[in-house]
């Protein structure tokens, strides 16, 4: 054999062997898709991932984050393109759509048992379909409450937040300030147009505090077009008429700058409020129960949650579930989980798992989060249903139309009810096909 041929054979063998060795030693790569995208949140998530990879050197985890507004589209397009993530963190309202389309993998029995033993039943229901199947590890629980600026209330002559709708209207109108040119420099109740949850969740919290319902108990029919629902939307119309609210002042953007008296909001806002320059978190930010409506008898609220789940097409489902479990499990007694720590300390949200609620009780004991923890005991979970996102968006547009004076509460709710029931009927037919 000539020298040239020997070298060629040797190189070929080396190539084949190295390829085989590389294949054998290949790491398991997981992609996790979340919507937590600020610099601090990214660093906190990466720290969790790094800790897991240090314990599991054969696993590589890549973190992908997108804005909440694009998360659903990212999941859908990723699936269609065949480049879906292995691990998703998503809003539970989308769960029925994803389950019907076969997007999600069923959790292993160990995980289901762990969730059953460590999470309140209401929260488990929020990440389960109507057949009782749980699809992932619930994460943050977000009830809505009335967040208010104590200084602005005091300046308007009030030392306590409103307990009912008459007080809400009175205080909101008293806080609002309009200058000679018609510019609103301060508004009583801030609404959040352009954001479906920012409009529909506060409406639902007020609706429930007025004795109303969103959907029927079996989730087959819309029930917001009721006398209680019309009263709730009339409250918005009254607030607009009295100047107590104005859609041109966004509550989410302007409360931190100290120009909004009250906003109905979720706990994860704490980090923003702590960093706010227009309002002092410790001394000026107050949290109160949702004011009770004329047809209600006690404060109520709505709570939504998110969950970690695994894509059904993931080639690494056991590894993905192991990673999710590792993030959510308590590894040392009383220390809480990695995700619990992230939710409480980076977001200000309430974790789902009992061990996290116990471990981080001190962190959740401040005047802000503690009120939401108390509300999570009675807040009604957002009812999830296939087509729920579409119904929510339709309702958002009609509530905004009332805020803009374009329609009446009666017409608005009748219109959404008709469309919502058509969507629910269509989904039922789809399920039967």
């Amino acid at each position: 054999m000539s020298l040239k041929r020997s070298v060629l054979v040797f190189l070929s063998l080396a190539l084949v062997l190295s390829f085989g060795a590389a294949t054998l030693a290949q790491d398991t790569t997981l992609t996790m898709l979340t919507h937590w995208g600020t610099e601090d949140q990214l660093a906190a998530q990466q720290a969790i991932i790094d800790a897991y990879m240090a314990e599991h050197p054969d696993v590589v985890i890549e973190l992908v984050t997108v804005d909440f507004g694009e998360l659903r589209a990212k999941i859908i397009t990723g699936r269609t393109a065949g480049i879906s993530a292995d691990v998703y963190h998503f809003y539970h309202l989308w769960l029925p759509d994803f389950v019907n389309a076969g997007v999600l993998a069923e959790p292993p029995q160990d995980s289901l048992t762990y969730i059953d033993e460590n999470v309140a039943q209401g929260t488990i229901d929020a990440v389960s379909t109507s057949d009782g199947q749980t699809w992932g590890y619930p994460t943050e629980v977000n009830p809505y409450l009335l967040v208010y600026n104590k200084r602005l209330l005091a300046e308007a002559g009030y030392d306590a937040p409103p307990a009912n709708w008459e007080e809400l209207k009175e205080i909101a109108a008293a806080i609002t300030q309009v200058d000679d040119s018609g510019a609103i420099s301060q508004v009583g109740l801030g609404v959040m147009p352009g954001w479906d949850s920012g409009i529909v969740h506060p409406f639902s919290a007020l609706l429930f505090s007025n004795g109303g319902n969103y959907l029927s108990a079996d989730r087959a029919m819309a029930e917001f077009n009721s006398p209680q629902g019309i009263e709730t939307l009339q409250l918005y119309a009254d607030l607009v008429a009295s100047g107590g609210t104005d859609a041109s002042i966004n509550g989410l953007a302007n409360f931190p700058s100290g120009t909004v008296g009250m906003v109905i909001m979720a706990p994860w806002w704490r980090a923003t409020l702590r960093a706010a320059e227009g309002v002092d978190f410790e001394t000026e930010v107050g949290v109160a129960e949702i004011p009770v409506g004329p047809s209600g008898d006690a404060p109520s609220s709505i709570a939504y949650t998110w969950l970690f789940a695994v894509d059904s097409s993931s080639p690494n489902k056991p590894a993905a579930w192991d990673f999710i479990h590792w993030m959510n499990a308590e590894h040392n007694d009383g220390a809480g989980s990695a995700i619990g720590d992230f939710l409480v300390n980076a977001l200000g949200a309430i974790p789902s798992f009992n061990h996290d609620q116990a471990a981080f009780a001190d962190s959740m004991s401040d005047h802000y989060v503690s009120a939401f923890v108390a509300a999570s005991a009675y807040a009604r979970p957002e009812q999830i249903v296939a087509g729920g996102q579409e119904i929510k968006t339709l309702l958002q547009a009609e509530i905004e139309a009332v805020l803009a004076g374009m329609t009446t509460p009666e017409d608005a709710l009748a219109s959404v009810e008709m469309q919502a029931n058509a969507i629910l009927e269509e989904q039922r037919m789809m399920a039967e096909e």
Partner: protein, 307 residues
């Protein structure tokens, strides 16, 4: 060798045959790309528009819906009807203003005004500015409470206006922003057209006793008709497909008063997972654009020939 459909019967030197072969190969590459990336998706979209598909289920499992998506859009989808009306208004306002202003400014810039180059650059700058940046900038400028436009308006003793946050003004404000954004482009197009008109024609008109208006009416306008056709057709097609500006400023709010067809299409596809209905919207919009374009071409081209 016999000729075939792909190899016509032409002088049969070996060199020429080889050249012809490679010519077909090179032509085939873009044709294949066109089929794969344009014709294929269009046909697929047409097929999807006859189904209910959430983009998540396998394509083979799409339930057949026939023309239901089209019927629903045209008879029951109030947001689509509203979006269609808004899109027409946007197109009519935008195309009309861009054509008139584009031509007007081009005439000015074509004359011997001082600092002509600087003016041209200034008018063209919004064209090369990112639409998102413009959207954010105008959101501040037109803010109801803090916006500079409202400060000027109230300083003049006029009432404060909601602009983008008002259901009756949001669409008009968007049209204004779109005109600001694109008029510079059409100025450049008209300017090129004006500079292509030989001076001899104007000299001849002057000899015949034509004034400025008559020269414009009987020389400039007829000779600009091909340019006008290009401006009107491309501007209409672009305006009927408006998305980014609306998405970034109002998102269709308040209460869908500024919703456009493509934004509604996006929401329907990616927020509501109704790809079949969104595809049907795309085809309806395509048919409308095609119809309007044919009408515009016939109207302007035929008149250009008559002139």
């Amino acid at each position: 060798m016999k000729s075939s459909w792909w190899m016509p019967d032409i002088p049969k030197s070996a060199v020429l045959r080889r050249r012809m072969f490679w010519a077909y190969v090179f032509v085939a590459a873009p044709v294949v790309a066109l089929l794969v990336f344009l014709a294929g998706p269009i046909l697929f979209s047409g097929w999807v528009s006859l189904h209910r598909w959430d983009m998540l289920s396998p394509v083979g499992d799409m339930p057949w819906r026939g023309l239901q998506n089209y019927v629903f859009l045209l008879t029951r989808d109030t947001i689509f009807i509203k979006a269609l009306g808004n899109t027409f208004l946007f197109a009519i306002g935008g195309v009309g203003a861009n054509t008139i202003l584009g031509l007007g400014f081009a005439l000015l810039l074509n004359s011997r005004i001082r600092g002509r180059t600087v003016w041209r650059v200034l008018y063209f700058m919004p064209v090369i500015t990112a639409p998102l940046a413009l959207a954010v900038m105008f959101s501040f400028i037109f803010d109801r409470n803090y916006g500079v436009v409202n400060n000027v308006i109230t300083a003049l003793g006029l009432p404060r206006q909601p602009f983008l946050s008002g259901p009756h003004q949001a669409l008009m404000t968007l049209i204004f922003i779109a005109i600001y954004q694109y008029v510079g482009y059409y100025i450049v197009i008209f300017l090129a057209g004006l500079q292509g008109i030989p001076q001899d024609y104007y000299d001849a008109a002057q000899v015949d006793g034509a004034g400025n208006w008559q020269a414009f009416r009987f020389v400039t306008l007829p000779l600009l008709r091909p340019v006008m056709l290009f401006v009107v057709v491309t501007n209409t097609i672009g305006a009927l497909q408006v998305f980014d500006l609306v998405f970034a400023t109002t998102g269709g709010a308040p209460a869908n008063s500024s919703m456009t067809v493509v934004l509604h299409m996006y929401n329907t596809a990616f927020k509501f997972s109704r790809m079949g209905r969104a595809s049907a919207m795309a085809f309806i919009l395509f048919a409308i654009i095609m119809l309007i374009t044919v009408m515009q071409v016939r109207l302007l081209r035929d008149r250009a020939y008559q002139d």
